[in-house]
């Protein structure tokens, strides 16, 4: 494993819920808080819309990291969506780590619509961590 990954520009797919995290990303934009351009956002209505299959698919197609971001527990626009997300993705994350996938590859964070700075910070830290890990080879399609 190389210690540094000079020149490696990872691809990070972020599934953001429309009401909190996507709004947080917009706020980061409005506030001109620059963050890693490695991050690509897919808008979903709620973090509970994120099917584990989407996450695995992103890795297969070449994502080096996947982030799911939703409202803080209790703040879900749909009352309870992120509570289900929390259980589902905790299980998925445990499984992926158990299968030998680095925990940093797949992350879940709560980012509210007022947390523009947090959004930028999380994106940078995820990008940093993934850069350090290097490219995703384990879950990527060979063909």
């Amino acid at each position: 494993m190389p210690v540094t990954n000079e020149g490696f520009e990872p691809l990070i797919v972020a599934f953001c819920c429309n009401w909190c995290s996507y709004a947080g990303a917009d706020l980061a934009g409005v506030s001109r808080m620059s963050y890693s351009s490695n991050v690509r956002i897919i808008r979903v209505p709620c973090s509970s819309r994120v099917n584990p299959s989407f996450i695995i698919r992103a890795f297969q197609r070449g994502a080096d990291g996947v982030l799911v971001a939703g409202c803080h527990p209790g703040d879900c626009h749909y009352h309870s969506g992120n509570f289900f997300t929390r259980r589902r993705l905790t299980v998925l994350k445990q499984m992926m780590e158990y299968l030998g996938i680095e925990p940093e590859r797949f992350q879940v964070r709560w980012i509210s619509g007022s947390e523009g700075a947090k959004f930028a910070m999380v994106m940078n830290s995820v990008a940093e961590e993934i850069k350090r890990l290097g490219p995703n080879r384990k879950l990527r399609d060979v063909r």
């Binding site: 299959s53 259980r87 994350k93 499984m95 030998g100 879940v108 964070r109 709560w110 060979v142």
Partner: protein, 333 residues
């Protein structure tokens, strides 16, 4: 409390099962019976489907009535409206509850005959110690396995020859039934300790070792879907992996697709798997699927409280509910 074990001679078991089946068919309680029968070899006791009372003599109960009969119920229900009788071991009975909870089974259309089970034998383990061709029969009597090998009778400690999944079985007695075929047996005392032993062994590896370990396992997978097909929890009418639009799973034999399959399969049974172990037993490639299923059970138990699937068909599986104060396996700051 005295340890209760299967203690009847082989014949008496089978006789009892045949008798129940015969009565049920003759009284028109049911129009068909699902049980096990003996096939050509000593290690084969597959599931059989009978409609004629005259055929009930085919039924058998021996250390190889391993196969779960419950998924046949789905086909039965799809094909006709009549009532069927089914013999179930402890593990199979939880499969009944699985189907009931998933609303895939109409309870009134099944007569469930519960068979308390002392554990099933592992043919591989037996073959390793005895010449397979000379074995004529294998019987479980108490904690002993009685083998007729050639002309002689061998008595060995059953524990060494039982299936791993039976050694860690927590519910040898059916948890749902209309009629109990014979007296209940006691669960094995070491069942709890051995339940997560293999999971813990894998957990103790570092990330890269774990990945290498699982790659070795999944490399053998030929994606025959036998694990899914036999699993009573995999009871969707149209499995996601069989769909073309969208295509959730690539068709090419790509290692990433294999991993995708195993992750999503395990995720779909998370909180629903009741540890019958059929997936792993039936796998032609020897992929240790129970190590994956049980990892999820362990994780859910640790995070969201102990839960055993297939015990109560009216409860809500852990991923279908939540508590506000649930912990998370990720950074919640």
């Amino acid at each position: 409390m005295q340890q209760k074990v299967e203690g009847y001679p082989l014949k008496e078991y089978t006789t009892k099962i045949c008798q129940i089946a015969k009565e049920a068919l003759e009284n028109r309680e049911v129009t068909a019976i699902i049980g096990w029968r003996k096939k050509d070899f000593w290690w084969q006791s597959p599931v059989v489907f009978l409609e004629d009372p005259a055929d009930v003599q085919q039924l058998v109960w021996d250390p190889f009535t391993i196969y779960s009969p419950v998924k046949f119920l789905l086909d039965w229900q799809e094909s006709c409206a009549a009532k069927v009788g089914i013999f179930v071991k402890g593990c199979d009975s939880r499969g009944i509850n699985r189907l009931l909870q998933d609303k895939r089974l109409e309870r009134e259309r099944v007569a469930v005959y519960g068979v308390p089970c002392g554990g099933k034998a592992d043919a591989e383990k037996i073959r390793a110690s005895f010449p397979s061709k000379e074995i004529k029969s294998v019987t479980l009597i108490g904690e002993e396995l009685v083998l007729a090998v050639g002309e002689r009778e061998e008595r060995v400690k059953a524990e060494a020859y039982l299936l791993d999944k039976c050694l860690s079985c927590r519910h040898p007695n059916p948890v749902v039934y209309d009629k109990l075929v014979w007296e209940e047996v006691s669960p094995r005392q070491y069942a709890d300790e051995s339940r997560f032993a293999r999971v813990q062994a894998v957990e103790s590896l570092v990330t890269e070792e774990r990945f290498a370990y699982w790659q070795r396992q999944f490399d053998r997978c030929i994606r025959c879907f036998a694990c899914r097909n036999t699993c009573p929890a995999c009871n969707c009418r149209v499995c996601i992996f069989d769909q073309a639009e969208p295509r959730w799973l690539g068709k090419a034999n790509d290692p990433a697709d294999t991993l995708n399959y195993h992750i999503i399969r395990a995720f779909h049974v998370a909180g629903r798997c009741f540890e019958c172990g059929e997936c792993e037993r039936i796998c032609p490639a020897g992929v240790p699927l129970q190590e994956l299923n049980r990892k999820l059970i362990k994780g859910i138990n640790d995070a969201y409280g102990d839960y055993e699937a297939g015990l109560d068909p009216t409860d809500v599986p852990p991923l279908g509910t939540y508590r506000g104060e649930d912990p998370a396996g990720f950074d919640e700051s």
